[in-house]
């Protein structure tokens, strides 16, 4: 016969509900995938990808490797909860097997095992015996989890120890779930201890001693206390399970699916798909994205960070400001332990809030550029920084490149600024226009001075030719010995433009190039972590004052190691910095041009 | 409205108006538009006020329409006008009275030109001499017929039998006064009351018991503008101007519009019909239009002349409602009887504007 007691109901019902929700949503999401992605999913399940996914789940969802890399305490905290609990369940099951006669154990049986089984035949220290070993193990794991709990409590007050300046402010459901979650393990400890103490046996090295001690104090009544605690334990579990789908903890089941999706090759698209929904669900609201967001740290705007944005999407609470007030600098994406493409989701959401802007570019004249092997495309902004154009012309001339200055007579925007408004389709005409001209020139290389253009060309144009930023191309020319240089050893701090660095993964070329003509100095935040200059076209609703704050903040980092020059590789960054910089702000091209002996 | 302010301006624009012995030059188009108006003027001057008004059947157009339509050169115009002067001089008169506002403006324009460029005057005298053998004197006083009526408004009021008040309620009738552009917009000093707040018609209305409405588009042109009206393609501009005025005056519920120019009454009257047929709008009370009168017609009514003798039956917007308000008796059966009582037949009723 199967042991049963009323108090197991809350747990059981909660569990059933949670499982139902998970299955329901997973099914929904997979079913809603675009045809293509659904096929990828089917194929994925029966392939090695499945295993690799499991591997990642283990390392990320249980061990929390990324978290560890970010901050050991934070990582340990997450691990103790995830891994500890996971193992409690696994070994708990094994342990229950020892005593259970039936093959189908109700899920509550291992969870509340100590309530049903009081095995005095084995004592707590006899860990060489199987039951003894398990008792030891279970108590140990419980301690493991509780250690995490203690850290979590400390994190409340001392979040900085965990590498977090600000933490996510939570909603009601979060608070309820959290309280239950925190209750579960201490209560379990007490419940087991009281029980073991009352029956004078059956406990492990922790529970038994604590139990005996409690029994001394509470005598007979400890039995009733125990029973009350078992109820509380079950209730805590039950309530937690029920609140999960409505709280941040929903990320746990969702992230699992996300990992499978990723391993099966499913990614985000320009419009919202289930992948987007899963990403949104997978946000654990750990708040890592809050600190890296300059709008918060520099401009004191605290309600639009990725975590809040994603939450608002999930609760269908997005408003115009939260959608449009974002630098789209990519720093949060870079930092996200779950690897959620917050910027992509932001652009998708923008579509709703940027109005039905039915752009009409029919006025663009058909044009037939001359043939050339290399095209130079300055870009809109570069026309406001003539020094860059002058430098580029000089360099290309010096290298004797046969090139065509495609937008010398006036630039037709690359289309990315429109895309940044979420109106992907509206950019089509611009893209088509430029693409046609580029192809007509029959060039094999397209060089641009503007990272914004670079990104557009690479991501939106799928051109059959090489698309390079000028820093990259100039480096090539130098390596080919086509540009004589005399290094002018000025101290230079290099600023990675968002769309060149995080956007186009071009970190090394600019640095290598600079190191040939100048002395690079360390910058506290560079490469993947580089700050945005504040001039971003990604943000729509921001005052000039706020922009200034971001710019000044970025400059502080750049000028910290007092360089003679702040070098950048983007006309927009250059103009933005020029407003507040204490030192000279130059584009890489200008620095190289100055280094050419006359 | 601060009337002292207006009165002050009116004081600044006093104008000399001869009190007798006028040489009257007619308008080209009024004979067709409002046939009885000029006749009424003569009757008032001669029979009621016992003034001498001279005419000469040989006088011609002043060529103003041609001049403003760019088809008659200024030299020609000056010579034509010089001939009118010679007719006046020959009749031993020196007070010129014009029936037409455009003529009035043009006579002044020519006289000013001669004043500032004496050699031009000499030249024109030459032209006239060689062309016609005539000579002329510069008139001592140039007035528009409305100036003259204005000058004698009190006398007319004294002998008049009707007043501009509702004969039942005694409420003063609300009048929109509209001045022809060429009356004082070219030479404010030549018009009674100047260009911004002309007084010539206001004076009559006030004297005869009415109350003038000052509505926002008061200054605006009626839309005649020769080039606008004469070319069909431009006619929409003409219409739009009148419409602008009607819409601006409508809220004031005017009892009628008073004018002193050949074109204005024509267009303010006929365009009401056109607009009603084009856009289905009417500007008077209950589907009617706003009656439009010339100052002679009005003076005639004050003096108790028979409306049909004043030619009011040729108006597009029926004047009966106004006559009723003023308590003027009229015989509907006689409305469409021509000279010696022969029946001219009845016109078709417009589809929107209330006519009968």
């Amino acid at each position: 016969m199967i042991s049963f007691n009323l108090f197991v109901l809350p747990f059981s019902l909660g569990l059933i509900y949670l499982l139902y929700m998970i299955i329901r949503w997973w099914y929904k999401w997979v079913k809603a995938l675009p045809e293509e992605d659904r096929n990828l999913f089917k194929a994925g399940i029966f392939s090695k990808k499945f295993l690799s996914a499991l591997k990642e789940i283990f390392s990320e969802s249980l061990i929390h490797r990324k978290m560890f890399r970010r901050n050991a305490l934070l990582g340990y905290m997450h691990m103790s909860f995830a891994l500890g609990w996971f193992l409690l369940i696994v070994f708990g099951n094994m342990e229950s097997r020892i005593y259970s006669t039936s093959h189908v154990n109700p899920p509550y049986y291992p969870i509340f095992l100590k309530f049903f089984i009081h095995d005095k035949t084995v004592l707590w220290f006899e860990i060489n015996t199987v039951p003894g070993f398990f008792r030891f193990l279970m108590d140990f794991l419980l301690l493991f989890v509780l250690s995490g709990l203690i850290l979590a409590l400390i994190k409340r007050g001392k979040s900085r120890w965990f590498g977090l300046r600000r933490t996510t402010n939570s909603q009601l459901t979060d608070k309820v779930a959290l309280t239950c979650l925190w209750l579960i393990f201490p209560v379990r400890l007490l419940a087991e201890s009281f029980t073991d103490g009352y029956y004078g046996g059956g406990g492990g090295f922790v529970t038994q001693h604590l139990g005996n001690f409690l029994a001394l104090i509470f005598q007979e009544s400890s039995r009733h206390i125990a029973y009350a605690l078992w109820w509380t334990y079950s209730l805590a579990l039950g309530i937690f399970f029920v609140t999960v789908p409505f709280s941040r903890y929903w990320h746990i089941p969702t992230e699992l699916l996300l990992i499978f999706f990723r391993h099966f090759g499913i990614t985000s698209r320009k419009f919202s798909t289930s992948f987007t929904h899963v990403e949104i669900g997978a946000c654990s609201r750990c708040g890592v994205c809050i600190d890296v967001c300059q709008l918060g740290s520099a401009a004191r705007i605290h309600d639009i960070q990725a975590v809040y944005f994603i939450r608002s999407v999930r609760d269908e609470q997005v408003n115009r400001d939260i959608a449009l007030r974002c630098l789209v600098c990519g720093r949060c994406q870079e930092a996200c332990p779950v690897g959620i493409g917050a910027d992509t989701i932001r652009l998708i959401e923008r579509n709703t809030f940027s109005g039905t802007h039915d752009a009409d570019f029919s006025y663009l004249p058909a044009s037939f550029p001359r043939k050339a092997s290399v095209i130079y495309f300055a870009g809109c902004m570069t026309h406001l920084t003539p020094a860059i154009i002058k430098a580029m012309k000089g360099i290309l001339k010096q290298a004797g490149v046969d090139y065509l200055f495609l937008d010398e007579g006036g630039t037709v925007c690359c289309g990315r600024p429109v895309i940044l408004s979420g109106k992907h389709d509206q950019a089509r005409d611009l893209i088509e226009f430029n693409k046609e001209r580029i192809l007509r020139s029959e060039a094999h290389t397209l060089v641009t001075s503007c990272p914004i253009c670079l990104r557009a060309f690479r991501e939106e144009y799928n051109l059959p030719i090489r698309v390079l930023h000028h820093s990259h191309y100039i480096l090539e020319l130098i390596k080919a010995g086509r540009i004589p240089l005399q290094a002018v050893h000025r101290k230079v701090a290099y600023h990675d433009p968002c769309d060149l660095g995080r956007g186009s993964r071009e970190y090394s070329a600019p640095r290598e190039l600079l190191s040939k003509v100048a002395t690079l100095v360390e910058v506290s935040q560079e490469g993947k972590d580089a700050l945005c200059c504040g001039g971003s076209l990604g943000i729509y609703t921001v005052s000039p004052r706020k922009r200034d704050l971001i710019t000044k903040d970025a400059l502080e980092h750049l000028e910290a190691s007092d360089p003679e020059v702040v070098a950048t590789a983007c006309p927009l960054c250059k103009k933005t910095f020029a407003k507040h910089a204490q030192v000279e702000v130059l584009d890489i091209a200008e620095i190289v041009y100055d280094a050419i002996p006359v | 409205m601060i009337n002292e302010g207006k009165k002050r301006i009116w004081k600044d624009y006093q104008k000399e108006i001869a009190d007798d012995r006028y040489f009257y030059v007619r308008s080209c188009i009024r004979q067709n538009f409002f046939p009885a108006s000029e006749k009424a003027f003569l009757r008032i001057m001669q029979e009621e006020l016992k003034k001498d008004v001279f005419e000469n059947a040989a006088h011609t157009t002043c060529s103003g329409i041609g001049y403003h339509s760019d088809v008659v050169p200024f030299d020609t115009t000056m010579t034509v006008i010089a001939r009118q002067f010679s007719l006046m001089t020959e009749s031993g008169n020196e007070n010129l009275v014009t029936s037409c506002i455009t003529s009035f403006g043009l006579y002044n324009e020519v006289l000013e030109t001669w004043k500032h460029f004496p050699d031009v005057l000499k030249k024109v005298r030459g032209y006239l001499k060689t062309a016609t053998g005539r000579e002329f004197e510069i008139p001592k006083n140039v007035a528009h017929a409305s100036d003259v009526i204005f000058r004698f408004r009190k006398e007319i009021s004294a002998i008049g039998v009707n007043r501009l008040v509702h004969h039942e309620t005694g409420r003063p009738l609300k009048v929109v006064e509209h001045i022809g552009c060429h009356y004082s917009k070219m030479f404010p000093s030549k018009g009674v009351g100047g260009a911004e707040y002309p007084y010539v018609l206001v004076g009559m209305v006030e004297e005869w018991g009415g109350e003038v409405i000052d509505y926002p588009e008061r200054r605006h042109c009626c839309g005649f503008g020769f080039r606008q009206y004469l070319v069909r393609a431009n006619r929409g501009y003409s219409l739009a101007n009148s419409k602008k005025k009607f819409e601006s005056m409508k809220p004031y519920k005017p009892d009628f519009i008073l004018t002193n120019c050949p074109g204005c009454p024509m267009f303010l009257d006929r365009w009401q019909y056109t607009l009603s047929e084009m856009e289905g709008v009417t500007y008077g009370e209950n589907g009617r239009g706003i009656p439009v009168l010339t100052y002679e017609e009005l003076a005639g009514l004050i003096l108790g002349y028979d409306p049909w003798d004043l030619g009011l039956q040729v108006h597009q917007v029926p004047v009966e409602p106004l006559l009723d308000k003023m308590g003027i008796q009229y015989d509907t059966s006689r409305k469409f009887l021509g000279k010696d009582g022969q029946d001219l037949g009845r016109p078709d009723a417009p589809s929107v504007l209330k006519f009968f």
Binding site: G355, M381, V412, V418 | R235, L239, E277
Partner: protein, 110 residues
């Protein structure tokens, strides 16, 4: 109704009293910087789209203030949102959001 072969010409006049200010009200909330335009025209001078078509972003701001919605609607369609104008504006008017916000407001009015 009779066809006379001509119609009363529509006035070119801006009838400020009758015009629709709701879009402006919306903008005052969502992009107040538009209030500070001094019509210097730098934006129009540097405009990328302006190189290819008669597009006047300075005029966009004026039309907005006058409540001339129809022309406004047509004008903003030409904008490439490239943002050059923002870089040259002496009063820090945030043109790119201006365009989007105008569109949003017009949508709302529908």
């Amino acid at each position: 109704m009779i066809n006379f072969g001509y119609t009363a010409h529509k006035e070119r006049l801006i009838d400020y009293d009758k015009n629709d200010k709701r879009v402006l009200e919306h903008l005052k909330k969502h992009e107040p910087s538009v209030l500070t335009c001094i019509a210097c025209g730098s934006c129009t001078a540097t405009c990328s789209a302006g190189q290819f078509v008669d597009f006047n972003i300075r005029l966009v701001q004026t039309l907005l203030r006058r409540g001339e919605i129809e022309p406004l609607k047509q004008e903003i369609r030409k904008c490439m949102l490239c943002g050059k104008c923002i870089l040259v504006c002496p009063r820090g008017v945030n043109m790119r959001n201006l365009i989007l916000a105008i569109q949003t407001a017009i949508d709302k009015l529908k």
